[in-house]
C-alpha cells in the first residue's frame, strides 16, 4: 500500500484548474468547426455535410448546426476559406439554437426550459449525476469516465456520479436513443427527484448524428425527454462535458459563444 502512495505522489498534481483557469488547448485537437465566412453560398454547400448540419438560406447566408456536426471535416476540406477546425472546448448551450452558429439563427423564439439557474441553485456544490447510455458508439462513455481521472477530477467541483437515478440531480444521456432504450430512459427520468436537469452528451444525443437517418433510433434525446443542456461533439471531450455539467448545475453561466 505504501508503494502505491509513493507511486501516486510521484506524478505530482496533474489536475486541470478549469473552470477557474482556462484549460490549455491541445495543439491540433478538433473540438469544433468554426464558420469564418457565412455569406454568399449556394445550396450546393448543404450537400457537403453528411449529417445535414449546414444550412444555406435563400439569400446565401450559411448556418452551421453543431448539434448535428460529427466533426468529420468534409466541409473543412471542401471549403477551407469558410470552415475551419478550432480547439475551443466550451461548446455546450442551454438552448438547442445556441449550438447553431451563423447568420440565420432566431434565438428569441425559443422558450428556455428555465429557470434552470433557479432550479439548480439548490444543488450547488453537491450535484449528483446519473449517466444513461441510450445507444452511443461507446466513445462517450470513455470521455465521461475520464471526468473522474486525476486530470479532470470533477469531484473537486462538487460533481459526483451516483448509481441510482433516485439520488440524481442531473441525467447525463449519450446516444441517439434506440427504440428499446426509450422506456428504460423514461423510467430513470421519472424516478429522479425534482429539481432535475437533463444533459444531452454528444452529437448523437443532440440530434441522432449519422444514425438519425435510420428508423432504429429516435434521432435525438429531445424527442424523448426535455433537454436542459446540449453538449455537441463526436464525442465531446471531457472538458466540454465538464462545461456542460457545470452549466446544468448552475455553477457556470457562460454558454458557447456563437
Amino acid at each position: 500500500m505504501l508503494a502505491w502512495i509513493a507511486r501516486g505522489l510521484r506524478k505530482r498534481i496533474v489536475t486541470s484548474r478549469y473552470p477557474r483557469v482556462a484549460e490549455a488547448q491541445l495543439p491540433g485537437f478538433r473540438a469544433r468547426v468554426e464558420l469564418t465566412d457565412s455569406e454568399g453560398a449556394t445550396s450546393e454547400l448543404e450537400r457537403v455535410c453528411p449529417t445535414g448540419a449546414i444550412g444555406v438560406a435563400g439569400d446565401g447566408r450559411v448556418s452551421l448546426d453543431r448539434g448535428r456536426c460529427i466533426l468529420c471535416g468534409a466541409c473543412v476540406s471542401a471549403e477551407p476559406e469558410r470552415f475551419r477546425f478550432a480547439g475551443e472546448y466550451e461548446t455546450a448551450s442551454r438552448r438547442r439554437s445556441g449550438i447553431v452558429v451563423g447568420a440565420h439563427v432566431q434565438r428569441e423564439l425559443e422558450a428556455l426550459r428555465l429557470p434552470l439557474g433557479e432550479r439548480a441553485r439548490s444543488l450547488r456544490r453537491s450535484v449528483h449525476i446519473r449517466h444513461v447510455d441510450a445507444g452511443s458508439d461507446g466513445s462517450e462513455e470513455w470521455e465521461i469516465q475520464a471526468l473522474t481521472n486525476p486530470y479532470y477530477d470533477m469531484q473537486r467541483l462538487g460533481l459526483y456520479f451516483t448509481l441510482s437515478p433516485r439520488h440524481a440531480d442531473v441525467l447525463l444521456v449519450t446516444g441517439a436513443v434506440t427504440r428499446v432504450m426509450e422506456e428504460p430512459l423514461r423510467r430513470a427520468y421519472e424516478v429522479m427527484p425534482e429539481p432535475k436537469a437533463v444533459v444531452a452528451a454528444g452529437t448523437e444525443a443532440c440530434s441522432g448524428g449519422l444514425a438519425a437517418a435510420i428508423g432504429e433510433v429516435a434521432g435525438g434525446l429531445d424527442r424523448v425527454l426535455p433537454v436542459d443542456v446540449y453538449v455537441p461533439g463526436a464525442p465531446p471531450s471531457p472538458i466540454a462535458l465538464l462545461h456542460g455539467l457545470l452549466l446544468a448545475a448552475g455553477i457556470v453561466n457562460e454558454e458557447a459563444a456563437a
Partner: protein, 498 residues
C-alpha cells in the same frame, strides 16, 4: 510471413480436394465456394472439423442474393455461398454443429425472416424486452437479478440476467442489442469516403480498427493498394488504440478492486494515450485518421516526437504494471475468476485476448497479415490459464508488442516521409472481405460496391463473438466476481449491437 503463405496453400489444396467445382473465386487468400442451401450445414461442419473458426452468417446481395457463411480457415477467409431463391424461407441451421453460430443465426432470423431449421433457441434478439425475465432455475431460494440495461457505473447499455440463490451465479443470460442502431443499413448508397464515417461509429472505442477493416474491404474490391506510408501510419494508429483499450481494462479492474491509486495511475496512462492521439490526428479516438485508399489526416507529429513519447510512457507503464501485478489484494480477485478452457472458447468461436488467454494463438494480424503488419515482426502473446488474470497478462503483453510494432513502423516511416499517403479509388463494383485485429479481437467486414457506392455491408464484430464466451466463463463464480470477469473481457456493446 512465410508460414502464413504456406498454410494458405494447404488450405487451397484442401478446398480443391473437398469442394471440387464449387470454388467460384479465390483471389488473394480468400475463397468463395458456391453450394446449394441444403448443403451449407454439412460443408460448415466439414470445415470446422478441419479447424476452421466461424466468423459470421449473413445475407449478401452480390453477385446475387445469397446466404454467406464465413470462416477463418488456415490463413484464409473461406465463404460458403448459397444462392437464395425468392421462395427460400428456411435452411438447415449451422448452429446444430456449430454453437458459435447461434447468435448470428438468431439475428438472421429476426432480420431476414429466414428460419434456421433445428436452431435450439429462436427467441427474438434484436429488440430485447427489459422486463422479460424468465427464470430457468426453479426453487424457492433462487431469484433473478436484472443487471442493466442501465448499469451501476459509467457503462454501455447491455442487460445481464443473473440467477442466484444468494451468492453463486447459477445461471446467466447476456442480452446485447439494446444499442442496435441499424448502422449496417446506413452504409447503403454512400461513397466509400462517406461510408467510412459510419464504420468509425460502429464501435467508438475501436474506431481505427473499424475504419481499417472497412477500408480494406473496399480496397480489396477495387483492387487498390494503399501506399506504404499510409499502411504504416495505420499500424501506428491501430496500436495506439489497442494500448488505450487495454489500459482501460486495467483501470476498470483496479476500480473493481477498489485500488484508488491504481485507478488514478492507469487513468492517467490511458488519458495520456488519448491526448497523444489527439495531437497526432486531431481526434482522441483516431477519427478521420484512416480513409479508404490511405490515411485521412497528415500526421501532426514527427516520428521522433512520437518515439520520445513512447519511451517516457513505457517507463511509467512498466512501474505501474509491476506494482499492480504485485498487489495481492488485486491479483487474488483475478486468479481463477471466469476460467475458460480451450475447448469452450474454440466451440464458441472466441476471438482476441479472451481466446489468446486460453491458449489459442489466434490473431488476424498474424494469421492473415494485412497492410503494414506484413512488414513488421511481433509475437502473438498467449497464456494457458484462461482466467481473468491470464486475460490481463495477455493485455499487458500486447501493450509491450504494440510499443514494439509502433517503433518498427516509425523507423520505416522516417525513410518514407516524402511519399504519398493516399491512392485514388476507381468507381468499381464487386464485393470482398476486409479484416483487422481490433483490441477486442478479430473484426471482419463484408462490403459490396455498385458503381463506386456501397450497397450492402455486414460487420462481424469480436464483441458479439465473445459475449457467449463470457457467459460460458461463469463456473462456480460468485456475484462479487461479476465485474472482474466482465471487465477482464473488455468488450464493447456498441460494437456487438451495431
Amino acid at each position: 510471413m512465410k508460414p502464413a503463405r504456406r498454410t494458405a496453400e494447404h488450405a487451397q489444396r484442401f478446398l480443391e480436394g473437398r469442394f471440387r467445382g464449387a470454388i467460384e473465386q479465390a483471389p488473394g487468400g480468400n475463397a468463395i465456394l458456391r453450394l446449394p442451401l441444403g448443403a451449407l450445414d454439412r460443408a460448415a461442419a466439414l470445415l470446422t472439423a478441419e479447424g476452421a473458426r466461424f466468423i459470421s452468417v449473413f445475407v449478401a446481395g452480390q453477385p446475387d442474393r445469397s446466404l454467406i457463411a464465413a470462416f477463418a480457415f488456415r490463413g484464409q477467409v473461406v465463404a460458403l455461398r448459397a444462392p437464395l431463391e425468392n421462395s427460400a424461407a428456411s435452411y438447415p441451421a449451422l448452429s446444430l454443429h456449430l454453437p458459435a453460430a447461434r447468435l448470428a443465426e438468431r439475428e438472421l432470423h429476426d432480420r431476414e425472416g429466414l428460419t434456421p431449421l433445428g436452431h435450439p433457441d429462436l427467441r427474438p434478439v434484436l429488440r430485447p424486452d427489459v422486463d422479460a425475465l424468465e427464470q430457468r432455475i426453479a426453487g424457492p431460494e433462487s431469484f433473478v437479478i436484472p443487471y442493466g440495461p442501465i448499469r451501476s457505473g459509467i457503462f454501455e447499455a447491455i442487460q445481464h440476467v443473473v440467477e442466484t440463490a444468494g451468492e453463486d451465479v447459477l445461471a446467466l443470460e447476456t442480452r446485447p442489442y439494446f444499442k442496435h442502431r441499424g448502422l449496417e443499413q446506413r452504409f447503403a448508397e454512400l461513397a466509400p469516403d462517406r461510408a467510412v464515417l459510419v464504420a468509425e461509429r460502429v464501435a467508438g472505442i475501436a474506431t481505427v480498427a473499424h475504419a481499417i477493416a472497412f477500408s480494406q474491404a473496399v480496397e480489396a474490391t477495387l483492387e487498390v493498394e494503399p501506399p506504404e506510408q499510409a499502411q504504416l501510419w495505420r499500424v501506428v494508429h491501430a496500436e495506439l488504440e489497442r494500448m488505450a483499450n487495454h489500459l482501460d481494462v486495467a483501470m476498470k479492474l483496479a476500480e473493481d478492486a477498489a485500488l484508488a491509486v491504481g485507478v488514478a495511475r492507469f487513468g492517467i496512462l490511458k488519458e495520456d494515450v488519448l491526448r497523444l492521439r489527439a495531437r497526432l490526428c486531431g481526434s482522441r479516438f483516431g477519427r478521420g485518421a484512416v480513409r479508404p485508399g490511405g490515411i485521412g489526416v497528415w500526421p501532426l507529429l514527427h516520428p521522433d516526437e512520437l518515439r520520445g513519447w513512447l519511451d517516457n510512457f513505457e517507463r511509467d507503464l512498466v512501474r505501474d504494471r509491476r506494482l499492480l501485478m504485485r498487489t495481492t489484494s488485486f491479483t487474488d480477485r483475478l486468479i481463477g475468476s471466469g476460467r475458460l478452457d480451450r475447448e469452450t472458447v474454440d466451440q464458441l468461436g472466441g476471438v482476441g485476448p479472451v481466446a489468446r488467454a486460453a491458449g489459442i494463438s489466434t490473431d488476424a494480424r498474424f494469421e492473415r497479415p494485412y497492410g503494414g503488419y506484413a512488414r513488421l515482426g511481433f509475437e502473438v502473446v498467449t497464456a494457458e490459464e484462461g482466467d481473468a488474470m491470464a486475460r490481463l497478462e495477455v493485455r499487458f503483453g500486447e501493450i509491450r508488442e504494440s510499443l514494439h510494432l509502433t517503433r518498427q513502423a516509425l523507423d520505416r516511416l522516417q525513410r518514407l516521409a516524402d511519399t504519398p499517403v493516399r491512392s485514388e479509388l476507381p468507381a468499381g463494383s464487386g464485393a470482398a472481405f476486409g479484416w483487422a485485429e481490433a483490441p477486442q479481437g478479430e473484426l471482419v467486414y463484408w462490403a459490396e460496391l455498385e458503381a463506386g457506392r456501397l450497397a450492402h455491408v455486414h460487420v462481424s464484430s469480436p464483441s458479439l463473438h465473445n459475449w457467449p464466451v463470457f457467459v460460458a466463463s461463469f463456473r462456480g463464480d460468485v456475484l462479487t466476481d461479476f465485474s472482474f470477469i466482465e471487465h477482464s473481457f473488455g468488450l464493447t456493446a456498441a460494437g456487438a449491437d451495431r
